[in-house]
């Protein structure tokens, strides 16, 4: 038995008939076709599927699609505006905050909420807030640097998506 859902993803309205068990991450990847949101585990540990749902960083593997009814969702594809990278994206590029790139979309969106909570985060705050996102390539050093870079470059400019 399928349910109809309607939500906004990166500013575009999406409406589909979905099975109640369909996870939001699979809806985003397979139904909507936005493959920047990744699946790295099946126990909600890795955070590669992190998206923004109504402004909150959420692991899209822990949400059923039907629960996102009416939600406003931003995926990695929706973060850059008019071809301008978001300062967090820019920070990951500047500071070599990625290697294989697989965890990166989730890291960037987790960092997005992190910087909303703590616009000037300490290193400890960054590390603690990233607890739900795993990276196997960088040893996190340059991810911390990337977020620090973003923090410095977001000051003044009111960046962010709601």
């Amino acid at each position: 038995m399928k349910h109809s859902v309607k939500m906004t993803i990166n500013g575009q309205t999406q409406s589909h008939e979905v099975e109640p068990r369909l996870l939001l991450v699979h809806y985003i990847r397979e139904t909507v076709g936005l493959t920047g949101t990744h699946v790295g585990c099946d126990t909600s540990q890795c955070g590669a599927c992190t998206i923004l749902m109504n402004g909150q960083a959420v692991k899209a593997c822990t949400v059923f699609t039907v629960q996102a009814e009416g939600a406003k969702i931003t995926t990695i594809e929706g973060l850059a505006k008019n071809g301008e990278l978001h300062p967090i994206q820019q920070g990951f590029w500047e500071k070599h905050g990625l290697q294989c790139g697989f965890c990166t979309p989730g890291m960037i969106l987790a960092a997005h909420q992190l910087l909303e909570r703590y616009p000037k985060p300490s290193e400890d705050q960054i590390r603690h807030q990233l607890e739900g996102n795993l990276c196997r390539c960088t040893g996190y050093h340059n991810i911390v640097k990337a977020i620090q870079w973003a923090s410095e470059n977001m000051a003044g400019a009111k960046a962010g998506v709601k």
Binding site: E19, R21, H26, R29, E30, G33, L34, T35, G36, T37, H38, V39, G40, C41, D42, T43, Q45, C46, A48, T75, I76, E77, L79, A80, L85, Q89, F92, W93, E94, H96, L98, Q99, C100, G101, F102, C103, T104, P105, I108, E123, D124, I126, R127, H128, L130, E131, N133, L134, C135, R136, C137, T138, G139, Y140, H141, N142, I143, V144
Partner: protein
């Protein structure tokens, strides 16, 4: 950002050219691919560590809505065993069918594939496949596999022994031990690890019956190797009708080198159903089926003179290979391990004896470092144990035994000939960052306050830039280990470079472009790097063993040299000069010393494709292919230090400082090399403190089978790393590059464990047999040590 016109790019930390697609979610990973008519696969796997298959009933599953086909091992007639690509003398090679036919030998061993119109339908139907299992006793522990009465896993391997292998001089080593005044002996367990690349393995297989072409997209570190093994050895289909594409790959760390069951079965099945099939591993499946790493149990002895000279090293290792021989499994605990036991020290004599055993566990193969971390861990642990026995400082003992600086070869006692080294210099540099005397003084104060603070070192060496084909061939490799590089100059002077190596995070598109832009004197934006597609690239051996820049880069360099030679002929013709009077400077071919008498690169390129005014007998076109086969391995080395504090009450270890000084030869992009060191060190710390695959005795279940149970390092568990370098270029290749992908992992584990032991030393602890040094293990060690520990250590 620097551009080519500024100056040389070799040595500059330019930003990565591949990053824009990754930070915007536009990477193309295998699981992102969707083809018309796509079907989806799920595998039915053994829930038992060892069980005979009495019967597989697929009737209910076949009737499940959306199911396209179900195949079991019995359906795969005419399909060969998954091959082992490294054959040791007398190696027992048991059959390894892509789908188990009669017996499943580890939890996760696949027995059937279910293919359906949707992923959900495939998974649902897979639940309905009924396997009648006859469960047998299993053995998983490395040290018990060859015991009398242990479950027998393969008919061809009595006592589960796959091979016995030795290296070094047994008689000389025995003699050294007989007369040695000081002997230190330890049992050292190098626990099993799971690679855990963030992208799970995946494949898409598409057969087109109109042409007979098969395309396989697969998460591979070496697509040509995948194609060769699968076509020539397993499926018996023509290699030239198969194209293997490894698109963006989300990390590998060794685990994506090997030919696995799943892509083989999908490639076979797509020819049967004539529709594309996609399979993506869940993380649970990844834990159960990605080749795992390490898993040695070793007894090691070090013989010392009273003055601290190393007289002998004796090693006896049992290496767990898992249930089957993975593609390169036999090489890891032998030629990538035993040959590194000389470390950076002059040793009187060495002998190592290795037994490889089968168990009812996931196959074991190369994981970042592969054999070399096991060797470095052994040496760097036993040398610190030796220092304790002699009551000598750990650095003094090391310095007494360092091989003196050399530029062109050092013959070890275990076959290898090191290329170049300056081991003391790396340690000297480390000590400019770390005030060792001050640390020891502060440590004394901390200890008096009851704090458990320690420092550990690792002055490691490794062998990479893999590898000279003739040498590895004589040692059992069934492949050459050269690399190819094609440089294609287009008529407009733009350049496409095709490499047989593969990036799954290493940044080839950046570093190789730096190399090419420099050598050709063209803007970096005029250079494109192509990798990971057998349809585009002549051949290649892929990326592992820290070989891309040194071996792959040299192949590219050789092609550029050929381009220049041909360009000189074309330019000389245009200038009515002699080719031997030409030189290539700043992007133009000129008469030596006469920049005014020159033809720019672009004009030469155009002339090569529009050869109206052209040298007699010279072929048109400007494209060159080279295969570079190195004459030797390269040997990066370095000195790492780790400072830790152990919480007495909880056993928790906190890494306070981590300092890495590495010598990887010349460096193309320091930012990228530093990044690889960071990640490698994190994995090494992970092994030392948290990671470990645990199989339950009896049931043979992988207890640490999810990311909830297997402790991967998280951001808040790790420090910022302090990195630096010394540069001792290799003479093995013209670029002077040694290799940087694995040093961190190789060096870090012993540095961390040595630091923890140093911290616990006041309690009377001088060794912990098994890693990880988890809070539980450290706490238990502290509890066990306390009664024997000095009373003065009470708080």
């Amino acid at each position: 950002m620097a551009t080519a016109t500024d100056a040389r790019l070799f040595g500059k930390s330019i930003k990565r050219r591949e990053d824009p697609r990754f930070i915007t979610g536009k990477g193309h990973y295998t699981d992102d691919l969707k083809l018309a008519g796509m079907t989806y696969a799920a595998f039915v796997r053994s829930p038992h560590a060892h069980a005979k298959i009495r019967k597989i009933d697929v009737a209910k599953a076949t009737a499940h809505p959306g199911v396209v086909a179900i195949f079991t091992g019995k359906d795969m007639t005419g399909v060969n065993s998954l091959p082992c690509g490294w054959l040791l003398p007398d190696l027992k090679v048991p059959p390894h069918p892509p789908l188990a036919v009669d017996t499943a030998r580890y939890v996760g061993d696949p027995v059937a594939i279910v293919i359906a119109e949707s992923q959900d339908a495939a998974l649902d139907a897979a639940e309905k496949v009924k396997v009648d299992w006859d469960v047998r006793p299993s053995v998983t522990a490395t040290g018990k596999a060859a015991d009398k009465g242990a479950a027998q896993i393969h008919e061809v391997a009595p006592s589960n022994v796959a091979f016995t292998w030795q290296i070094g001089d047994a008689a000389a080593t025995d003699a050294a031990f007989k007369s040695a005044p000081v002997v230190v002996k330890k049992r050292i367990v190098n626990q099993r690890l799971v690679a855990n690349a963030m992208e799970p393995r995946a494949c898409v297989a598409r057969y087109e019956d109109a042409t007979g072409d098969l395309t396989l997209w697969v998460t591979s570190q070496n697509p040509h190797v995948h194609r060769l093994l699968m076509t020539a050895f397993v499926l018996g289909i023509p290699e030239h009708k198969v194209r293997v594409i490894a698109p963006d790959v989300g990390g590998g760390f060794g685990s994506k080198i090997f030919l696995y069951n799943e892509e083989t079965v999908c490639s076979w099945a797509t020819r049967r159903i004539k529709r594309p099939i996609r399979w993506t591993s869940t993380r649970r499946e990844a834990f159960q089926t990605d080749a795992q790493g390490r898993d040695h149990v070793t007894d090691v002895e070090l013989a010392l003179s009273r003055e601290g000279k190393i007289l002998g090293l004796r090693v006896k290792t049992v290496a767990n290979l898992g249930a089957y021989l993975s593609t390169f499994a036999p090489a890891v605990p032998t030629y990538l391990y035993g040959t590194l036991l000389n470390g950076v020290y002059e040793m009187g004599a060495i002998h190592a004896d290795v037994t490889g055993v089968f168990t009812n566990t996931t196959p074991v193969d190369a994981y970042r470092g592969a054999g070399r971390p096991e060797a470095a861990y052994l040496i760097e642990r036993i040398i610190e144990a030796g220092a304790a026995a002699l009551k000598m400082d750990v650095l003094e003992l090391r310095r007494k035994n360092f091989i003196p600086k050399f530029a062109d070869g050092y013959q070890t006692k275990v076959a290898l000939n090191y290329d170049s080294g300056n081991y003391g210099a790396a340690l000297d540099k480390l000590l400019t960052v770390l005030d060792y005397k001050k640390f020891r003084a502060e440590q004394e104060v901390s200890r008096k306050q009851g704090k458990l603070v320690g420092i550990g070192f690792s002055t490691y060496i490794e062998a990479c830039s893999i590898a000279p084909s003739k040498v590895v061939g004589s040692l059992g490799a069934q492949a050459g280990l050269y690399e190819s590089g094609i440089v294609r100059v287009h008529p407009t002077g733009k350049v496409t470079v095709l490499t047989g190596s593969h990036s799954h995070g290493q940044g080839h598109e950046t570093t190789f472009s730096q190399l090419v832009a420099d050598e050709l004197g063209v803007p970096i934006d005029d250079v494109d790097i192509v990798h990971g597609d057998t349809g585009a690239i002549a051949f290649g051996m892929g990326t592992y063993g820290s070989r891309s820049a040194s071996v792959g880069g040299t192949a590219i360099h050789m092609s550029i040299e050929k381009i220049k030679e041909k360009g000189k002929k074309i330019a000389a013709h245009l200038l009515e000069a002699s080719p031997k009077d030409m030189e290539y400077v700043n992007g133009q071919f000129q008469v030596k010393g006469f920049p005014g008498k020159a033809v720019p690169f672009g004009q030469v390129a155009l002339t090569a494709y529009v050869p109206h005014n052209y040298p007699e007998g010279l072929e048109p076109g400007l494209e060159e292919t080279s295969f570079y086969d190195p004459s030797n391995f390269c040997f990066p080395f370095g000195a790492h230090a780790c400072v830790v504090e152990v919480d007495r009450d909880t056993g928790k270890v906190k890494v306070l400082r981590y300092i890495a000084v590495d010598d990887v030869g010349n460096v193309i992009n320091p930012m990228i090399v530093d990044g690889m060191v960071h990640g490698g060190v994190a994995q090494g710390i992970g092994q030392a403190l948290w990671e470990g695959a645990v199989y339950e005795d009896g049931s043979g279940q992988l207890v640490t089978g999810t990311m909830m149970d297997y402790a991967l390092p998280k951001a808040d568990m790790l420090p910022m790393y302090e990195t630096d370098r010394t540069v001792t270029p290799t003479l093995v290749n013209p670029l002077g590059i040694k290799g940087a992908g694995e040093t961190g992992t190789i060096a870090a584990t012993p540095a961390v464990v040595n630091a923890v032991i140093d911290a616990l030393r006041p309690l009377g602890v001088d060794h912990i047999e098994t890693m990880p040094l988890s809070p539980e293990r450290v706490w238990k060690t502290i509890q066990a040590a306390r009664p024997a520990g000095a009373a003065s250590q009470k708080r």
